[in-house]
């Protein structure tokens, strides 16, 4: 998929300037930059959640998003949280739960899971959608060091196994390095991609 962005504004304030971005299956990109620079906005444009911009977005790849918060359906159990949004069957959902280490938690509701478990559930949901490209928005924020490290290793393994591409939005270059993602820095006002 490729995005050729000319400008993105919220009201009178232009947030993102001219930039071009391309990613394919198997390729890993990380968009780095300080908070408030417009990283999440860029990811929302890529995900097709924000169509109010000037520019062009091409590509017919299947996408899946891992949001900053787990964003689960509180009224459905773990299996339902994978099967309902992705449309996969319950057996596939159980399989993905096992792959992220949540075997035995199938019938639990999100509130009964820890934050780390909820994030792994969100990760399983994203992979269950069978994406060509996975879009992740600060998925390791607000996790303690150990949990974040395990989540990173898990994400890396699943990406390798499924062959999916990745666009990761983060403020932490170490996360990008751990996933072997090519870092792109977002900076300036309005923000553009900066070469380094």
């Amino acid at each position: 998929m490729r995005l050729e962005l000319e400008a993105k504004s919220f009201g009178p304030r232009q947030v993102l300037g001219r930039l071009a971005l391309a990613v394919a299956r198997g390729e890993r990109l990380a968009i780095l930059g300080p908070s408030g620079i417009g990283k999440s906005t860029l990811l929302r444009i890529l995900a097709g959640l924000d169509a109010d911009y000037r520019g062009r977005l091409e590509g017919a790849e299947r996408l899946a998003v891992v949001f900053q918060e787990p964003v689960l359906l509180p009224w459905r159990d773990a299996v339902g949280n994978i099967a309902i949004p992705t449309g996969c069957d319950a057996a596939t959902a159980r399989d993905w739960l096992a792959q992220v280490g949540l075997a035995g938690h199938e019938a639990k509701f999100p509130r009964q899971l820890s934050l780390g478990q909820q994030r792994r559930l969100a990760l399983a949901r994203a992979f269950a959608a069978g994406p060509d490209i996975l879009l992740m928005d600060e998925p390791f924020a607000s996790l303690d060091g150990d949990t974040a490290a395990r989540m990173l290793a898990l994400t890396d393994a699943l990406l390798t196994r499924s062959g999916a591409g990745l666009v990761l939005v983060t403020h932490d270059p170490a996360e990008a390095a751990a996933l072997g993602a090519r870092p792109l820095h977002l900076g300036g006002d309005p923000a553009r991609l900066q070469k380094d």
Binding site: A47, L63, A64, V65, L73, P74, R76, R111
Partner: protein
């Protein structure tokens, strides 16, 4: 949030509830004995005897059944139309701006006017009766569902869009569970409002049902009969609330409970 679930008390509030009903019966008994005018205020046992007699002849079941049919039909119609309108108005600002004046007018038209107009325009038939009741209730449901729709979580909306969930799945799994408390509240408020209006509709233009019976008893100033019919039907409605609505609400709220 934390650990220990509440001890499984049989029914909290059961004892005060029963005592409060007994106290009301006591006041009624005292008042009826002190006034000693059975035509105006009959004793509770006279009313109870009348209810028994009505039940034994089958008259109670037929007329209460007709009333119940009208309650259910207009309730279903009002909930369906009110939810559709409320969702639409909560989601679309344009729809809200266009439909809101009509909604406010309908909220403020007296029930009696709607009933009379329906009977005149449609005729003295079942359609007019059910429609008149539903029209009185639709704006109330609409307003409650609209408020609930405005409070829907935008992050879940994003999630549903990002995963390309189909409209029906989105409605069923993302939107309706969030609206469940509002739907339950409007159903609860609705059922009691509706059966009161159904009685007026029957009083004015039907030849069966509890309201029609009360009309007949009113012309003969039979207070015992009026009370017998009213109390019998209140009991039926309370039973529905306890047997149907509350268990459904508990089930719909199951996910809110934390198990260990």
């Amino acid at each position: 949030m934390t650990g220990a679930p509440k001890p499984p008390a049989l029914r909290p509030g059961l004892v005060p509830g029963v005592l409060s009903i007994l106290a009301m019966l006591l006041v009624w008994t005292l008042a009826s004995q002190l006034t000693d005018r059975p035509q105006t205020l009959p004793a509770p046992w006279d009313v109870a005897a009348r209810i028994m007699r009505l039940a034994a002849t089958g008259e109670l079941w037929f007329n209460a059944g007709m009333t119940m049919f009208r309650v259910i039909a207009s309730f279903a119609l009002a909930m369906a139309a009110g939810m559709a309108l409320g969702l639409w108005m909560g989601r679309s600002r344009g729809a809200d701006q266009w439909l809101n004046p009509g909604l406010i007018i309908l909220l403020n038209v007296p029930a009696l006017v709607v009933i009379v107009l329906c009977y005149i325009w449609i005729g003295l038939n079942e359609t007019a009766a059910v429609l008149a009741v539903a029209l009185n209730k639709i704006p109330v449901v609409t307003v409650m569902i609209r408020e609930g729709t405005r409070a829907l979580r935008p992050d879940l909306d994003d999630m549903a869009r990002a995963f390309r969930m189909r409209p029906w799945a989105r409605l069923r799994h993302v939107v309706l569970p969030q609206l469940a408390p509002h739907v339950a509240a409007s159903a609860r408020a609705g059922i009691s409002l509706i059966w009161k209006i159904v009685l007026v509709v029957e009083f004015l233009g039907r030849s069966n049902g509890v309201g029609f019976k009360i009309h007949l008893l009113f012309s003969s100033f039979d207070v015992t009969g009026v009370l017998a019919w009213a109390l019998a039907f209140v009991a039926v409605m309370l039973a529905i609330d306890l047997i149907l609505l509350r268990p459904w609400e508990r089930r719909a709220n199951r996910w809110r409970q934390d198990a260990a």
